[in-house]
């Protein structure tokens, strides 16, 4: 053994150059990518250099060689990743063995032992590192979770206040009422002596007390005013910063509005401001000297931020409402324009036809003319009546008179009514419905109107015949019944799909363009929806969703 080690040492030191070139040759025959992975991203040559620094270059004496061996055995050396170290040693072993032709067996045993130990050491190290980093990760993750929890808690607390105020803002549209409630809420939940809310009146540079709650509720006159820049509140509004006057009795800025106010020993005032403007201030009073601390300032600041938000939203709401009104107005005007053209067309054509045939009958009442004319006149009168119904339905919807209805029967009825005489057009009708479909509460007359409109559109989409398929579905876990009415017409062109629910929109030259709009209205008033899907190759599907009566009961 000793002998072999000496040999090995000898080979390592004397054959360094040839070992190096042999190693390089070996490396060149291995995939560079594989090697980069093994050596933690370093170039194999760099690793080799390092290796020789450790094993060869630094060994100048036998003693040092033994020291190195010991260090390898004791697992002190971990310059390489375990795989890289093993790979290196295997490569080195091959090279070295070539140079130790005569004592192959022993040298191999030594290398094997070195390899085994290094490998064991590195694996142990690897797991130790892994465990360590994992427990560190875990600790960090725990800290992170705790931090997140704290943030969430704080956010939840803020949200509660936020929610309460938002709910107040929503519960009434009268801003004065909102402010009154907020002030009372603050006074009661924090048990302050008195709370007042001031707003800045820009044109007079004064602040007006908008709401108050507490002991001085009766003392402050209605619409109490103070100049900006005067008194505690005036200073706050002027500077935009809160003032905590814990000995307000000796504060030179104080203004006494009425004698009883002397009972107040501390005052805290917080501005209500947006990013660019002070809107007002929230002023709270205490009968105790030093009655306030920074927690009060913080919680009131949170509140006034919310208040600013409420006020801002109220403004926005108002503006949006006005804008919306304007839009509706202009839309109404354009609709009226389109409506007058369409109605002129829709009324004048049948009137001209009716009158024309009537006149022709007066002149020459021959039997064949009476036949044609009476048929056409009654047909045109129906058209006028339908027009009137459409317009009335659109402008003044009737109250719903709901009654439980068997939908498949109703739909079949309507199909026969509308489709009369259409069999010869080559339209094949099919209807499916689940057997356990409950009776659905609808207004039969109005719902028929919806179906008539939808069927008529479908028929008109298929002048040369096609398939009309009505599918009634009750889907699991969905609170509605779906009626799909599908035709095999050309579909709705993509460019007009946004338009089809607009009043007076139509691709036909007859009709009011109100049919689908009214249908949608009626379905929506039933608590349902009407939508469509259209593909140029597979026709159009109209989907009517009606609330499922069985799920409605659970509401």
């Amino acid at each position: 053994m000793k002998n072999t080690e000496q040999n090995l040492y000898h080979v390592l030191t004397t054959q360094r150059a040839s070992l190096l070139s042999e190693w390089q040759r070996l490396v060149r025959h291995t995939s560079v990518l594989q090697l980069r992975e093994d050596f933690d991203g370093r170039a194999p040559d760099d690793v080799l250099e390092e290796f020789f620094d450790l094993i060869v270059t630094q060994i100048t004496t036998k003693q040092e060689y033994h020291l190195l061996r010991q260090r390898i055995f004791s697992g002190e050396i971990n310059a390489f990743s375990p795989d890289a170290a093993c790979r290196l040693l295997i490569a080195l072993k091959k090279t070295v063995l070539k140079h130790l032709k005569n004592s192959t067996h022993n040298a191999e045993a030594i290398f094997d032992e070195i390899l085994l130990r290094i490998s064991a050491y590195y694996h142990e190290m690897r797991y130790r590192n892994l465990a360590q980093s994992q427990s560190q990760n875990l600790r960090q993750r725990n800290i992170e979770i705790a931090r997140l929890l704290a943030v969430e808690k704080q956010r939840a607390a803020h949200l509660t206040t936020n929610n309460r105020i938002a709910q107040m803002a929503l519960s009434t549209l009268d801003p004065d009422e909102i402010f009154r409630r907020i002030v009372h809420e603050v006074q009661q939940s924090f048990n302050y002596q008195h709370v007042s809310l001031y707003f800045v009146e820009t044109h007079s540079n004064q602040m007006i007390m908008k709401a108050r709650a507490g002991v001085y509720e009766k003392h402050f006159p209605e619409g109490y005013r103070q100049n900006v820049g005067e008194g505690i509140v005036g200073h706050v509004v002027a500077s935009g910063n809160p003032i905590m006057a814990n000995d307000v009795g000796n504060d030179p800025r104080r203004i006494i509005a009425f004698p009883q106010e002397k009972n107040t020993r501390a005052e805290l005032c917080v501005p209500i401001k947006t990013a660019d403007r002070v809107l007002g201030a929230l002023d709270v009073l205490s009968r105790k000297k030093n009655g306030f601390n920074w927690t009060d300032v913080q919680s009131l600041t949170v509140l006034t931020d919310q208040l600013a938000w409420v006020i801002h939203n109220a403004h926005l709401f108002q503006e949006t409402r006005e804008l919306q009104d304007e839009l509706v107005q202009s839309e109404r005007l354009s609709v009226i324009g389109e409506m007058s053209a369409r109605i002129a067309h829709e009324i004048r054509n049948p009137l001209a036809t009716i009158g024309g045939f009537a006149r022709s009958l007066q002149r020459a009442p021959t039997p064949d003319r009476i036949d044609t004319a009476s048929r056409i006149i009654s047909c045109e009168v129906t058209r006028l009546e339908e027009l009137l119904t459409d317009i009335l339905n659109y402008t003044r919807p009737r109250e719903l008179e709901l009654e439980p209805v068997n939908l498949p029967d109703l739909i079949t009825d309507v199909y026969h009514q509308v489709g009369e005489g259409l069999e010869d057009r080559g339209i094949a009708y099919r209807q499916n419905a689940p057997s356990d479909l409950p009776e659905t509460p609808v207004d039969p007359a109005q719902f028929k109107q919806v179906l008539i409109n939808v069927f008529k559109n479908a028929f008109q989409a298929m002048p040369n015949g096609g398939k009309l398929h009505v599918h009634i579905r009750k889907k699991e876990n969905q609170p509605h019944i779906e009626i799909e009415i599908r035709d095999t017409g050309p579909g709705i062109p993509a460019e007009i799909q946004d338009e089809i629910f607009k009043p007076y929109f139509t691709t036909k030259t007859t009709g009011t363009g109100l049919g689908l709009v009214i249908s949608k209205q009626i379905v929506e008033r039933h608590g349902g929806t009407l939508s469509f899907a259209s593909h140029s190759d597979s026709g159009t599907s109209i989907f009517i969703h009606l609330p499922d009566p069985s799920s409605r009961k659970t509401l």
Partner: protein, 120 residues
């Protein structure tokens, strides 16, 4: 006998016109959309075209442009339910603009005027 082509998508009204104008002694041909009207004019030009404006597909105003492009000598009477189309300068190239009415005397007068060369 003068040939009149009527282009109106309202079938009942077209039927009335056909009946009345036949009584007046014209030979009447009816089509229900502008595209067919254009084809008919190319094949067999009438002496007069009565053209509705609101029709499916190509409307009467657009059709008028096409038709005058094919034959700018063809007399055209625009016949519509809506008088405001008169404001559209594209309608001015028609020989007459008659608003639809159950009283066909205005239309008949216009037909007569156009065919006899008196511009209304």
């Amino acid at each position: 006998m003068k040939n009149i082509l009527i282009a109106d998508d309202d079938q009942n009204l077209a039927l009335l016109y056909e009946q009345e104008l036949t009584d007046e002694g014209y030979r009447v041909d009816v089509v229900h959309d502008a595209q067919t009207a254009i084809e008919r004019i190319k094949e067999n030009p009438p002496d007069l075209l009565i053209l509705d404006i609101r029709m499916p597909g190509m409307d009467g105003i657009e059709a008028l442009n096409h038709i005058l492009g094919i034959n700018n000598q063809l007399p055209v009477i625009l016949n519509t339910a809506y008088s405001n189309h008169k404001d559209n300068y594209l309608t001015w190239s028609a020989n007459a603009y008659v608003v639809k009415s159950s009283d066909l005397s205005k239309l008949k007068t216009a037909i007569n005027d156009v065919l006899t060369g008196e511009r209304s």
